[in-house]
């Protein structure tokens, strides 16, 4: 049976659009060093490593073996997990299973990306099927814009509603010195006046591209409590990578993969009423409209209720259920690290290490990953042992 597993330490780089002063291995090393320092462990204490990114953003084949000097993988088991945008969460979940299996006690999860090293869109378009999709429906924005316009049509949501989400993320990032968009607040007017990319998505509705890395230490029950005063226990994790082709995604039924992954994760964590029982959420929201619609898929509010839920201030700091105290993906997006940052930030909240971005009295936190062909990963963390 699965052993109990907790997160005992996290580390991340100060995220920037360009980190020309370091190569990829050195960037990884910064995050790893900080994660180890956070839980006062040395690399010798680590039993295994899982690393993830997206190959064509840096053009490194076999990142697990390439990285060992920076990751600490010399003479250790190291493997690579890659699932597109969900990569970081997939890495975290793999680390969880490494420990839960009983084979390893202390495991390091690493996500990283140096998006400055390539043309992000040139690389991302190749995720589409080369025979059927690549010539037309490719890259991140067309598919997201389709969802957004369908949602607006269905529920009468407006561009201003989405802008409210973008403003929230930037405002939260004022409290997170690691965020790329730290100290760069915006207004709804700024969003409305930013350049239209693909209707209804404007420049300030979408995430940036970032150079950064994140590392998280997972530990087994028998050692976790010795390492950390307040470990963040993994209550459950759930993954749904439902579709293969973009054309198969049904934009009208909500975010199916997130609905299903959330449902399973809540059930396994014993959560019956998520909006009441979850104290803070770090959600992978790559664009502002996701902040309206996807919280409905999770079940924080009913279908079409997203905009009201946001305008009522529920998801702001001090609200009923603060979302993305870190500023989220729209303030930092080093893609292979992005979903791991959600898990790390959720853990930081549970461990009470959030400093200016700390939500008071967090018992249960939720993290999600998004990517691939409308896929979702969900991780539930808690102060309470599972």
């Amino acid at each position: 049976m699965a052993r109990r597993v907790a997160i005992v330490g996290t580390g991340q780089t100060y995220h920037k659009s360009h980190r020309l002063d370091v190569n990829g291995r050195e960037l990884i090393n910064e995050a790893v060093t900080r994660a180890l320092a956070d839980c006062e462990l040395s690399i010798a204490d680590i039993d295994a490593i899982i690393i993830g990114n997206m190959d064509h953003f840096e053009s490194i084949n076999y990142v697990d073996t390439w990285s060992v000097e920076g990751s600490g993988g010399y003479m250790k088991p190291i493997m690579k997990v890659t699932t597109g945008g969900t990569t970081g969460a997939s890495v975290a979940i793999a680390a969880y299973y490494h420990v839960a299996s009983g084979l390893f006690d202390k495991v390091l999860a690493i996500g990283w990306e140096k998006n400055s090293e390539s043309d992000t869109t040139a690389a991302i378009v190749t995720c589409s099927d080369p025979i059927w999709d690549r010539f037309s429906y490719s890259g991140a924005i067309p598919s997201l814009a389709t969802e957004a316009s369908a949602y607006m049509e269905q529920y009468g949501a407006t561009q201003e509603d989405a802008a409210r989400v973008a403003v929230r993320e930037r405002s939260h990032a004022l409290n997170n010195p690691y965020a790329q968009m730290y100290n760069r607040p915006i207004t709804i007017q700024d969003v409305m006046e930013s350049a239209m990319l693909a209707y209804p998505i404007k420049l300030l509705d979408v995430c940036p591209r970032t150079d950064g890395a994140c590392a998280v230490v997972f530990a087994a029950e028998r050692v976790a409590e010795k390492i950390a005063v307040n470990p963040a226990w993994v209550k459950s994790c759930s993954v749904r990578h439902t579709t293969t082709w973009f054309g198969d995604v049904d934009y009208d039924t909500g975010m199916l993969s997130l609905q299903r992954a959330s449902k399973e994760a809540f059930a396994n964590a014993g959560i019956k009423n998520p909006v009441e029982e979850i104290d803070v959420a770090e959600l992978y929201l790559p664009y502002s409209y996701a902040g309206l619609k996807w919280i409905e898929a999770i079940g924080f509010c009913g279908p079409g209720q997203g905009p009201k839920f946001i305008w009522d201030g529920n998801t702001d700091m001090g609200g009923k259920l603060p979302i993305n105290p870190s500023g989220g993906v729209m303030c930092t997006n080093c893609i292979g690290a992005t979903a791991l940052l959600r898990v790390a930030e959720a853990a930081i909240q549970v461990m009470g290490k959030g400093d200016a971005r700390q939500v008071p009295d967090v018992k249960t936190a939720m993290a999600t990953g998004f990517g691939g062909c409308w896929w979702s990963d969900v991780v539930i963390l808690s102060k309470e042992k599972p």
């Binding site: 990829g24 090393n29 000097e69 010399y74």
Partner: protein, 153 residues
């Protein structure tokens, strides 16, 4: 295979992933490449924990997992510890076959340095002494060393 396909030419689609890359070299690597370019010197660095002299130099020692801060100037000569004479041509290769890849233990270094040897294939064996030959027009990359030449069997 379905019967009807047997009479049809298989359809294939040609494509290529075309993404331009700009890799950051990092501070330590930059110093190494600048020394190649500007001084025709090969420099390494020494881990103060295990005393290993690395080339190319590293920001941190992968084994000790500690930052490295001591530079070490190395000779531009060394001993071949492994080699292969490549018999096939390929556009990625910087030289025309037959040429050799070699791992060279440079004077003063504790690890091997991988580079190419273009001449005297008949004299090449493990243990021969080689010297770096620098390009005239150097750009700050690993091919500022044109190749290594055999100086003593």
């Amino acid at each position: 295979m379905s019967e009807w396909l047997q009479d049809v030419k298989d359809l294939t689609l040609k494509g290529q992933i075309k993404v331009p890359y700009t890799w950051s070299v990092g501070e330590v690597g930059s110093r190494f490449l600048v020394a190649l370019r500007d001084e025709k010197k090969i420099i390494g660095n020494r881990c103060n924990s295990c005393n290993t002299v690395y080339v190319p130099p590293r920001k941190n020692c992968g084994k000790c997992f500690k930052d490295i801060d001591e530079w070490a100037e190395l000779g531009s000569e060394g001993i071949v510890t492994a080699y292969t004479i490549v018999r096939y041509e390929y556009p990625l290769q910087p030289a025309k076959a037959p040429f050799a890849y070699a791992i060279i233990k440079l004077d003063g270094a504790d690890v091997g340095f991988v580079h190419i040897i273009k001449e005297d294939m008949d004299k090449l064996k493990i243990g021969v002494r080689v010297r770096a030959r620098f390009k005239e027009d150097r750009k700050g990359n690993i091919l500022d060393i044109d190749s290594f030449t055999i100086i003593k069997s």
